[in-house]
Amino acid sequence: MSYLEYNTSRMPKGLAKVLHLNWALVVLLIAVACYGFVMLYSVAGGSAQPWMEPQLQRFVAGLGVMFLVAMVPIWFWRSVAGLGYALSTVLLLGVEFFGAVGMGAQRWLEIGPLRLQPSELAKITTIMALAAFYDWADIKKISRPVFVLVAAVIVLFPVFLVVRQPDLGTSLLIAAAGGAVIFAAGVHWGYFAGVIGSVAGLVVAVFTSRGTDWQLLQDYQYRRIDAFLDPTLDPLGAGYHINQAMIALGSGGWSGRGFMEGTQSRLNFLPEKHTDFIFTTLAEEFGFIGAGSLLVLYVMIIGFCLLTVLRSSNRFAALLTVGVTANFFLYFAVNTAMVMGLAPVVGVPLPLISYGGSAMMVLMVGFGLLQSAHIHRPRLPT
């Protein structure tokens, strides 16, 4: 379905588009972001600096970007999907060769005063490229191996580059969001069963081979995997942090210890309390009411996004929306599962709340695309 098919005459034009935005979604995003401002104020010990104020500025800027992206017709975004994918690939390669090393990993690219995190950009461009690919491809042929292989390459190339940075969390997120798009496009479920089955088989093989003659990995690699899966094996390293996070979260109780009264975050027992572990502070200070209501807000955002998908008869827009939604969902699901001790510790921020610029901006661009799809959805002739 190319943009030529759009019934452009029925589309809102100019500033009238603003009225057709999905305002409920905008309100939800602002509400979630407000949780973030409150928590950043709290973890700074009751101060707007150094985190809350910059975060507020970024969010406002992010809202602006979202509106701008939303104003641009969705068919324009489809036509630049390939270009965007190419650009993000080039940037990822740039990181590979010229990237700045931070926190033991190459993630940033410094271009003058600008500091880019291309892996964040790759999340959105990969989804766009996939959606464009399936919009272009013949629906009857998409389950053929060649087509599946092309889609897999589109996903796995950036995944491979991000893994090398190394940033396992982001690469898994890209792979999973890409997988969601491929799944939604209608590729035969057998492929997914195959992938899941072979991954499971590989895992089983790796673990059963341990200690035998045909052991697949070195001993130290096994020990690393052990520590990754069960942080309590390393009580003073990663295990210490996850343990402290769980203590903070659990001690919150029903209504929390009160705003700025959380002892775990106040006394620095929590690691990364303004970024990846901010959910624990929220849970500690506002209890189940605070943390649970945030999860409900997230679910509502997911719901509104899915509604957009269902109302869109445009294949590109629908698949793009599925990707953006999956990406958003994976962010908060992996982050909260991690701090609750249900998932290994991987560096995934809590969307719209954790302090940080790149992730916030990319999310807002994603929601902008979603809004664009919403505004520019085909209206059925009445």
Binding site: A185, I247, L267, F269, A283, L306, L319, A333
Partner: protein
């Protein structure tokens, strides 16, 4: 590409179906997360709350303030001074070399101190705080505090550390404190938790060690909120401990200072006892050392210097040093003979200069002999033969009993380190220790304080006090500043007429022209003293040496010369103070020890400074010059005086 309506519809339905599937999956995952959240926050909240409290609250012991030690007049002998120090924890510091390098730019830290701190940190477990620098100035400690962000793991601390303002004067009596060692912990049955406080100091010697339980006090406790690196954020509550007890010694700091300076330059000891109370007024052991060196951590160079010194400055010779008493023992032999009724004291014994006992010849110190001597003369002129005779008459058993009655061979329970019991020999002792029978020659040797008998200067002072008072004077080192009167010591029940004879003999030693210490007499009638010289042989002058011309003590190497002893008391008619002096390898008691004994005794009777008028006119010029020299070295205690409790 262009799609047919059917295809569009197919695509739409496929996407709808699969998107709803994904949505359901997402909802299920979120539901699981919510369930987990509910489980942790509602079901296990109490357990986690407890863990959070344990995390943040830390119970700390507050070291009690150590009790002060004063002299009998309230002069501070051991105090506590503010001490600013910097401690560092390896765990929190991360790169300890970097942090130490930064620290060395803020405070004076030499390479040795850095190396020691580094080694301490690497040797201890990573969370143990190690003291990097001590005794910093307020400016230095504030510089460290201001730069705290650049110095992870470094904490400025304020504590009290022990200070001995009179330095070397009380090193042997008061002793010193030091950090708790493994052995200290083992010595206590249930170690006081306060000992676990890092850098806590306990008594290592002297009163500091022996009266540790009084001085230490009880630890307080403090509940504090700590952050993840253990830094204290605020105090929640606090229970104050009890400071240690302040102690008052019987020592007079002014007299102690005088005695030490008077002994300076020799390896010597002097003990002064207040006869009515038994108070030890001075216990000087020379040479001494500055006890503060040990508190601050003595360098191995300084320590080896003390260890290798021939004059053994680390030994408290007053109570640890055991010496043959020589002629100062003769009062014991005399009293044993009198009590055994083997003589009436007036009987004269002929001294030809020697006596043959079972084939061995025992010489009198005066080779030409004393002629016929009675008890008083024998004491005054220190005739050996008289006592050889008396000891054979009364036997070792009576001498042994009298010796004990006069306070020799007893270990006094004073709060000082390694108080020795000396040796009061007996038949049983020789059988047990030497596996040999007692011989008559042994008795003869003991009669003049040679042979097996060994005494400490403290014991000799006690003996003198007992002879002067006929009471079983017991020495004591601690006193209650509020006490009204000390109960009098029990009587020794020695017949007054015997004691009168002994005292007259001792008086003649210094006041009779023929007495061995006539040159050390006191002319002031209110301070007339009595005494007894002693010269105890350490090595015999061998025949070979005699042949090569060595006849005098001065010709021998220092460590082979005789010990010089002198015991005395005064005033004659109303004894108040008893003194015992020993000068190791000093030569003769009358020349080396008696002048010192007189000076110290006069100082004790006159608030620490002997009055010139007490000396014989002919000696005053010389004494005056000596006093002027000594006065320059004496400490002015005016600034140390503290009001009485």
């Amino acid at each position: 590409m262009k799609r047919s309506d059917r295809e569009k519809e197919l695509s739409r339905r496929m996407i709808t179906r699969r998107a709803l599937g994904l949505g359901a999956l997402q909802l299920a995952v979120t539901g699981t997360l919510l369930w987990r959240l509910r489980d942790m926050q509602l079901e296990q909240a109490d357990a986690f709350r407890l863990l959070a409290e344990e995390n943040r609250i830390n119970l700390r012991l507050l070291p009690p303030t150590r009790g002060l030690i004063h002299d009998r007049n309230g002069v501070l002998l051991a105090g506590n001074e503010q001490n600013y120090r910097v401690v560092m924890t390896r765990d929190d510091a991360g790169d300890i070399d970097l942090v130490l390098a930064r620290l060395s730019r803020l405070i004076a830290l030499d390479d040795a101190a850095i190396a020691r701190a580094r080694e301490d940190m690497l040797r201890n477990r990573p969370f143990v705080p190690v003291t990097v620098a001590e005794r910093l100035s307020w400016e230095e400690i504030s510089r460290v505090a201001t730069n705290a962000p650049a110095l992870p793991g470094v904490t400025p601390e304020m504590g009290l550390s022990r200070l001995y303002p009179l330095k070397a004067d009380f090193a042997h009596v008061v002793g010193y404190v030091g950090p708790v060692s493994e052995r200290d912990l083992q010595r206590e049955e249930t170690p006081d938790p306060v000992l676990m406080i890092p850098r806590f100091q306990i008594g290592k010697s002297g009163v500091e060690r022996e009266a540790e339980s009084l001085l230490r006090g009880k630890a307080g406790s403090q509940r504090v909120e700590v952050n993840s690196v253990g830094r204290v954020m605020r105090e929640l509550d606090r229970v104050e401990g009890e400071p240690g007890e302040n102690l008052h010694l019987t020592i007079d700091a002014r007299l102690q200072n005088y005695a030490l300076e008077r002994l300076a330059g020799q390896s010597a000891a002097a003990v002064v006892i207040d006869i009515p109370t038994g108070d030890v007024l001075a216990a000087a052991s020379a040479p001494s050392y500055d006890a503060n060196l040990f508190v601050r951590g003595i360098s191995s160079k300084d320590y080896n210097g003390l260890l290798e010194n021939d004059y053994r400055p680390l030994v408290n010779k007053c109570v640890q040093g055991m010496y043959p008493p020589g002629s100062t023992f003769k009062m014991v032999t005399a009293l044993a003979a009198l009590e055994a009724a083997e003589t009436d004291g007036l009987e004269r014994v002929f001294c030809p200069g020697h006596m043959d006992v079972s084939g061995n010849r025992f010489h009198c110190w005066k080779r030409s002999g004393h002629g016929r001597v009675d008890l008083e003369t024998a004491l005054a002129e220190s005739c050996d033969v008289y006592f050889y005779e008396m000891s054979q008459r009364c036997g070792i058993d009576r001498i042994n009993a009298m010796s004990e009655r006069l306070g020799l061979g007893i270990r006094y329970d004073l709060p000082m380190t390694s108080v020795a019991s000396g040796l009061n020999p007996s038949r049983e002792w020789k059988k047990r220790a030497r596996d040999a029978d007692w011989r008559i020659g042994d008795t003869v040797n003991v009669s003049i304080g040679q042979g097996y008998v060994l005494t400490t200067p403290l014991q000799l002072a006690v003996m003198t006090a007992r002879l002067a008072s006929n009471r079983a004077v017991l020495p004591r080192l601690l006193r209650d500043p509020l006490e009204r009167a000390v109960p009098q010591a029990t009587s020794l029940d020695l017949r007054p007429e015997w004691l009168a004879m002994i005292r007259r003999g001792m008086s003649n030693v210094v006041n009779d022209r023929r007495g061995t210490a006539y040159s050390s007499r006191v002319v002031d009638p209110t301070m007339v003293m009595a005494g007894k010289t002693g010269t105890s042989q350490v090595f015999r002058i061998t025949q070979a040496e005699r042949d090569s011309g060595i006849r005098r003590q001065e010709d021998l190497p220092w460590n082979r010369r005789n010990h010089a002893l002198f015991v005395n008391y005064a005033p004659l008619d109303n004894p108040q103070v008893a003194v015992a002096v020993i000068v190791e390898h000093g030569g003769g008691g009358s020349s080396a020890a008696a002048p010192i004994g007189r000076d110290i005794l006069l100082a004790a009777l006159n608030e620490g400074r002997p009055p010139l008028a007490a000396y014989p006119t002919s000696q005053r010029n010389r004494i005056s010059a000596e006093q002027d020299l000594l006065e320059e070295r004496l400490r002015d205690l005016g600034s140390y005086r503290v009001s009485r409790a």
